[in-house]
């Protein structure tokens, strides 16, 4: 509540600051704007920035650290009996305090000390919010008055405002880098914790996957096994099926659309592929699980084959359909990038259209097409919903497309869905798989993008 109030006050103060700065700048030269170093609106922006920016930074900093800070204060006030546990007990205690504070039932009778701590947490939180409101307003008003006092015909307001904006732009463009760093760090950090329990070589080359860990030491099957080879094999099988559908269909569709189809036909065909590309993956997953899989099973059974109801074929086929527009639009780009002069030269020698395409256009476009296929493979490997809904969960090491297989993404999704403790090898193994997935897709993308770029420059 207080935070919303603060944001509204800040917004008001910046607007007021803009008006003040503007009118004061005009007044300082008695209306002869020519004598100002910067136009009046820059003076306005200058004051507005001073009013809004420092308080906003404080607000962002507070929002990021408040929960942690308050929790530390609460924990330091608790008796040693509760706090002196290992990291896990401490985490549990934190969760209990938070749950009590937010009125979530914890299911067991809470310790009176913990109840008191929860109340303290709420109190400190409220105190923090109120002090933020007061301090934020003070800083904003102080900044506004300071900047207003500095308004002067010679003030280089434009340069200052533009420098600030420039810095903001740089920070925005760094967000993408930060995201990548965040991905790499979070995957690495959790994966290292996983590899402390499970040998990386066993993980990468083991052939048995059953991530169930026993809760108690004496339980049957107490050690899970984390050999990821069956997952990699399953992923490759489904990706292979998807590519067997998507590459020929997508490529031929691209060739037909760019070389054969009349403009009228193309205006009809292009949207069809675009719609196919725009359908959410969960819809494909539903289609694969409820329409395609039973169809494939019944078809196989009528032919006397035994087909699993979660066959790799159904999931792979639907994934292939999903990737058709991806392959065709990328190939379309590279085919169109082949210069017309190559085609004309071929026609001039008397080649038919298909001969020109097969013997001239496609070889010229080959690097681009290979890159497109690599991007499509990377996309198929990383696709989650179709396989989660339509492929199996048991890790079979098989090359039979009629069997059920599981994939890397399916396992990540099933390992992490639902409530889980954060430091069991079972949960952490998902991050190990995520790391492998990230490295593989990143490599494919990097190589493919490099090839596309190089190739594009060739004909430019």
């Amino acid at each position: 509540m207080q935070l919303t109030v603060l944001l509204i006050i800040l917004a008001l103060l910046t607007v007021i600051g803009y008006q003040m700065g503007r009118s004061r700048a005009v007044a300082s030269v008695g209306g002869r704007i020519v004598e100002l170093h910067s136009v009046p609106s820059y003076h306005g922006f200058y004051v507005a920035l001073w009013a809004g920016l420092p308080a906003l930074l404080l607000f962002a900093f507070w929002g990021a650290s408040e929960g942690w800070l308050v929790m530390q204060m609460v924990l330091s006030g608790l008796p040693d009996r509760l706090v002196n546990g290992d990291a896990q007990a401490l985490g549990l205690l934190r969760a209990d305090i938070l749950n009590l504070a937010h009125g979530v039932a914890t299911g067991r009778e809470p310790d009176p000390e913990v109840v008191a701590a929860a109340e303290r947490y709420l109190r400190l939180h409220a105190l923090g919010d109120w002090s933020l409101l007061v301090i934020g307003c003070c800083i904003a008003i102080g900044g506004l008055l300071y900047a207003r006092g500095r308004i002067d015909p010679d003030l280089r307001a434009r340069n200052r405002v533009e420098r600030t904006v420039n810095i903001a732009l740089v920070i925005c463009s760094l967000v993408a880098i930060l995201t990548t760093i965040g991905i790499v760090l979070s995957l690495l950090f959790e994966a290292i914790r996983f590899f402390a329990v499970v040998n990386p070589l066993d993980f990468l080359f083991g052939t048995h996957w059953s991530p169930q860990m026993a809760m108690r030491a004496d339980q049957v099957g107490s050690s899970g096994s984390f050999g990821a080879i069956p997952l990699f094999a399953g992923t490759l099988l489904i990706t292979g099926i998807a590519m067997a559908v998507a590459v020929p269909v997508g490529l031929m569709a691209a060739i037909f659309m760019s070389e054969y189809a009349s403009p009228g036909l193309r205006t009809w065909l292009k949207p069809i592929l675009e719609v196919l590309a725009g359908i959410p993956t969960v819809v494909y997953g539903f289609f694969a699980a409820l329409t395609m899989a039973p169809f494939v099973r019944d078809l196989g059974n009528s032919l006397g084959l035994s087909v699993s109801s979660e066959s790799a074929l159904a999931a792979g086929f639907v994934m292939g359909v999903m990737i058709i527009p991806f392959v065709s639009s990328l190939s379309d780009d590279v085919i169109n990038a082949v210069p017309q002069s190559l085609r004309d030269g071929s026609y001039g020698l008397g080649a038919t259209k298909s001969e020109t395409i097969r013997l001239v256009v496609l070889p010229a476009a080959l690097p681009g097409i290979v890159a497109a296929i690599m991007l499509a493979v990377s996309r198929a490997i990383g696709e989650t919903m179709i396989v989660t809904m339509a492929a199996g969960l048991t890790a079979n090491l098989t090359a039979n497309p009629l069997d059920a297989v599981t994939t890397v993404t399916t396992q990540i999704a099933t390992l992490l869905v639902g409530d889980q403790e954060f430091d069991s090898p079972k949960t952490l193994s998902a991050f190990g798989l995520g790391l492998v997935l990230f490295v593989v897709t990143l490599t494919l993308n990097m190589v493919a993008l490099r090839v596309v770029q190089k190739y594009r420059e060739k004909y430019d």
Partner: protein, 421 residues
């Protein structure tokens, strides 16, 4: 006088055979192309067709008419279940013994007493009178009325017993069962009972998520694109940023989910299942899309505009904000809407951050537990009831309607403001 006609070698038998073969190859190639396009179109038709044919019935719902006598004492004891059941028994006088009546209880949705209670609460003056109310039928009755449970299969294999079917027949004969537009689907949250389940909670969850996504990714994305396209010096740093953005655009979405789980939930301790976290993750995911689209739009603005602005003394920032950005805005907007549409359909990252949960309440804020439309589809698709299959397809149709709306808007904007220089 006759001229000896010697056939040139261009008219020889071998030549025409070769030519025929080449033309045949040409035709085959062309047909292969048509076939590819045909397969793609066919799959689209099959996909949409199967979903529409499975889903359109979910927009109707069977209701049963009851003549409820709102006995004062029963109302005060909030004994609406008994009231509803008595009214039902009155509708089917043939059922007299306890066993049959117990079966009859299943004809009504378990939510029927609550419907009645809500009606009484809204208008307390009806207590003591007899009212005609239409309450929702149980999902199996609904499926039977729609013909998905067939009466010609043996009773043991049917989900409805003969007794119930007889009761339904009696109700139909009296005109006490009707099929109405299924408003529950649009006004309720999730439920374990198909006839009480609705999509509204998920729609609100998706809307909250998208608002967060938009507020973060649009300004940051446009700012980053402006910097990279207009101000950035050409050096190794900016090259790195560029490569990085292109790669991020191709990172699997589930990886972003892992990032959200480890950083936003694990490190910052934000609440699970919250649209706030979902929005943050989606923002990081759509950011590259928006940056790339915005850069294309900025690139399309001819340099002469910039040169003219700089020539009359505008600063670089003024050039961009006064001239380049307004001209590129339609293109940026189109790219943004398409990015948002993609975020709306995305499921995998939301599974990672716990937005896959059974949530009955409609979320009221950014930190409430919520789901999103695609996640709701995912969860309903797992439910065994036939009625949920139907509702899953209906939810997909609703999701597709939103997507068509957004993409239509993007196309409209492109058509209206597109400018060729």
């Amino acid at each position: 006088m006759s001229v000896a006609v010697t056939k040139s070698r261009y008219q020889s038998e071998e030549f025409s055979a070769r030519l025929r073969r080449r033309y045949a190859a040409e035709r085959r190639f062309r047909i292969a192309g048509m076939l590819a396009v045909g397969i793609a179109s066919l799959m689209l038709v099959v996909l949409l067709g199967s979903i529409v044919s499975k889903g359109y019935t979910a927009f109707w719902q069977a209701q049963i008419r009851l003549e409820v006598t709102l006995d004062k004492q029963q109302v005060e004891e909030r004994n609406y279940t008994a009231l509803v059941r008595q009214a039902l028994y009155a509708q089917v006088p043939a059922a007299t013994d306890r066993a049959t009546r117990r079966l009859l209880n299943d004809l009504l949705s378990s939510g029927a007493p609550y419907e009645l209670e809500a009606m009484v609460n809204a208008n307390p003056s009806i207590v003591g009178t007899t009212q005609t109310v239409w309450v929702r039928a149980d999902d199996e009755i609904d499926q039977f009325m729609k013909g998905f449970i067939r009466r010609d299969v043996p009773e043991a294999e049917r989900r409805l017993s003969d007794v119930k079917i007889a009761a339904i027949d009696a109700l139909v004969a009296k005109g006490s069962i009707r099929s109405t537009f299924n408003t529950t689907l649009f006004t309720a949250g999730d439920s374990r009972e198909p006839e009480q389940a609705g999509i509204l909670g998920a729609v609100v969850g998706s809307a909250l998520t998208l608002v967060v996504t938009m507020l973060l990714s649009v300004p940051i994305g446009i700012a980053a694109a402006v910097y990279l396209e207009e101000f950035a010096p050409k050096n190794r740093w900016t090259d790195l940023i560029e490569v990085n953005i292109n790669n991020l655009a191709a990172v699997p979405s589930i990886i972003f989910g892992l990032l959200g789980l480890a950083v936003f939930l694990g490190f910052f301790g934000l609440p699970r299942s919250a649209p706030l976290v979902g929005g943050l993750v989606m923002a990081l995911m759509t950011l590259p899309v928006i940056i790339i689209a915005s850069r294309v739009a900025l690139k399309a603005v001819p340099p002469s505009i910039r040169e003219a602005a700089l020539g009359v003394g505008a600063s670089p920032l003024q050039t961009v904000t006064h001239h380049v950005l307004p001209l590129a805005l339609p293109g940026i907007l189109t790219g943004t809407i398409i990015g948002m549409a993609r975020a709306l359909g995305e499921t995998a990252p939301l599974l990672m951050i716990g937005m896959v949960a059974f949530i009955v309440d409609i979320p009221g804020g950014l930190t409430d537990s919520a789901t999103a439309i695609p996640v709701q589809i995912y969860m309903w698709a797992d439910s065994p009831e036939r009625a949920f299959t139907e509702r899953t397809s209906a939810a997909i149709l609703i999701l597709l309607a939103f997507l068509i709306l957004m993409n239509g808007l993007a196309v409209f904007l492109r058509k209206k403001f597109e400018r060729r220089w």
